[in-house]
Amino acid sequence: MTKKKILQGNALYTVIAIVFGFLAGAVVLTVAGISPIATYKKLTDSIFGQPKYMIWSVVYGIPLIFTGLSVAFSFRTGVFNIGAEGQFVVGSLAATVIGITVDLPPILHVPLCLLAAAAAGAIWSAFVGLLKVKRGINEVLSFIMMNWIAFYLSNYVVNLKGIKAEGKEATVDILESAEILLPLSVRQMTGCKSVNYGIILAIIAAIVIWYIINKTTLGYELRSVGFNRHAASYGGINADRAIMKAMAISGAMAGLGGACHIMGNASRIAQFAGQEGYGFQGITVALIAGSNPIGCIFSGIFYGAMKYGGLKLSTIGAPKEVLDIIMGTIVIFIAVSHIFRHLLNRKLKNREE
């Protein structure tokens, strides 16, 4: 019976997909003439070699948990938020601007920055919802355009007087009162200069999202519209309003991710040369988590660890792009996981007979 349960759940297939992802990475490395064993050993060392490496991995994972939650929430409510990238950027921007220009005690400054970021992300996303319900414009199109608008808006704001740092292609640092870093002593002890409260916020956010989806009337409403708009309308649910709400919540998550990234790690926004990819990586995080909010915590940290560990691969001459190949392969194998499911279930059945 327990065997059956494992075969029916998602966890096993996620693990299989991850294994296949690393196998695919190994093949590519071998073809490129780089030892996959050495590469993976280096990767493992870079993540688990020292406690501070693991802490860094979590720090890298925080924004990805948020964008993962953003995308997962959208999947569960029937829209595809490919615009988490842009919402993340406007969230970062809002937090940075408030973090620089407003001077408040931390107890007020931090919540204000977070709130501004969430609102910015929510508005950025809800606008796409508005276009969808009022004008029938496909959300994927407008999300992608909004990503670029956010991109250039950020580059514009970064260069404004009073925000831009003298002689740098970046903003000045946010005020200390807007940071969510752990006390200096802890940072020194762990050896990670950016260890921050973001992970706690991310876990709370994941639980809240899980709760909204599964336990509230709001979640019921949003899911019903996501699954079958017609039946939901028939049952008296205002489908248009539900789509807007779903998009706003999803956008708020990505916005918060941007805020945590700035307030916990980056402290400033640099002029972008290209999209940073937090939002798109959130799609991967959500897919690995099977759109489960709690799962996003783990898949977000997994992706964060890969990103952090990947930074050091160049020291042995392995390109860090191999990690993109691994992550991409994992997503493909998760997408086709029903094939494994079918094969394993059939094997088990044959053995029973």
Binding site: S224, F227, N228, Y234, G236
Partner: protein, 514 residues
Amino acid sequence: MERTSHVDESVIAIEMKEIVKKFGDFVANDHISLTVHKGEVHAILGENGAGKSTLMNVLYGLYRPTSGEIHVRGKKEEITDPSRAIELGIGMVHQHFMLVQPFTVTENIILGMEPTKGIVLDMKTARKKVEELSKRYNMQVDPDAHIEDISVGMQQRVEILKVLYRGADILILDEPTASLTPQEIRELMEIIRNLTADGKSVILITHKLKEIKACSDVCTIIRQGKYIDTVKVDEVTEQDLASMMVGRNVEFVVEKKAMEPGEVVLDVKDIHGKDYRGVEILKGLNLTVRRGEIVGLAGVDGNGQTELVEILTGLRKGESGAVWMNGKNLFNKSPKEIFESGITSIPADRQKHGLILEFSVAENLILQNYKKSPFSRKGVLKKKAIEDHAKVLVEKFDVRPSGSESRAAGTLSGGNQQKVIIAREITNDSDLLIAVNPTRGLDVGAIEFVHKYLVEQRNKNKAVLLVSFELDEIMSLSDRIEVIFDGKISGSVEGSKADENELGLMMAGGVRHD
């Protein structure tokens, strides 16, 4: 109906021997045997979930039998997948059509077996072949029409042609009449006759007794996965078939106590409305429904009844008119406001409007009431209350399999999905219940059950508006029958005095002379 049999008893087309199919511990088919001769129409009769479709999916290679043998034209065969079945000349038309909507009729028929000239698709030959086939069996289709533009009946003919194009001489039709109008059903019967005259065998999965009597030679009855009997259709009555199928006596006639209708609940005044193409389809319709009566709205599909119901339930905006409900005008109000003013409905399209298939049965049962106590408090769902509510209804309305409250609604059979909707809408217990084709796709046992509940609503002094294409249903249940023709009520008859021919005439636009 007069029919000639084309059975050639000397040639056995299909023989299924002692077929057993298990899903886990559940036995869907328990030693079922079936023999189909050349030129025979063999009906397979059973309730929803009796195992008819499973048996046919075994024959078509979609399932492998747990044990048992299949012989095709006297030779034992392993049917491993549908492509093997097609090679053996077995074709299946599924209940839910599998057509590519934006493609033309011809493109759909040749899909997967396209004639080519070199590497180029040879549409000319394809079109010619389709025309030949449709002429041969007298099946009218427009080879160049797009699927999304043609009627359900024509879509079904396309499905049958698709099977014939692949060279099938044994055709399995799964619930072929479920979504057809009476006229289309008659045309299908004609097609089946033409097929058997040409030496083809037809296996008909159905639970409609009338159709079995009208067009099949032999009938095999299955009940809860077990083989019950195979009978010559000429030698049994509909009542016999019903009893064998359900395992008890079935009441065809609904007991109704005499009742004096009360005050007017619904008063529809001068409704004008357009259909999805923007063509005026409702042209000043008036209708009233009173307490304690079932009003049957009879009519041929396409005369405005769909649009009328959509306007009454808030799914479509009308052009002008008024919908008075207990003194309140609900014309063009939101579905929510309409529901809260006392109108509930059993929608025509249960998978589109009735249910959220991915939701559990329990979640579906609170669709209009999820915000109300006891199902939620301050925006938080109360799981226990929702489950308890579902348990009671699943039990009371005999939704099968029992204990299905936590299963996704999409995993239930069509009949049981309908029961979920009926359970929900009847429990809402509002002043007016609008039921649109409430028994479509249900077996006699379930039909009896639905009819009983509709009458019970009436007996509780509620108003019921029954919209149905099944004239029998309208006639046996209604206290008053209103006939809709060309967007208006063309006549009204007292239920007890209704006459099928007269109604038919009125539905066709004939005028009633008193």
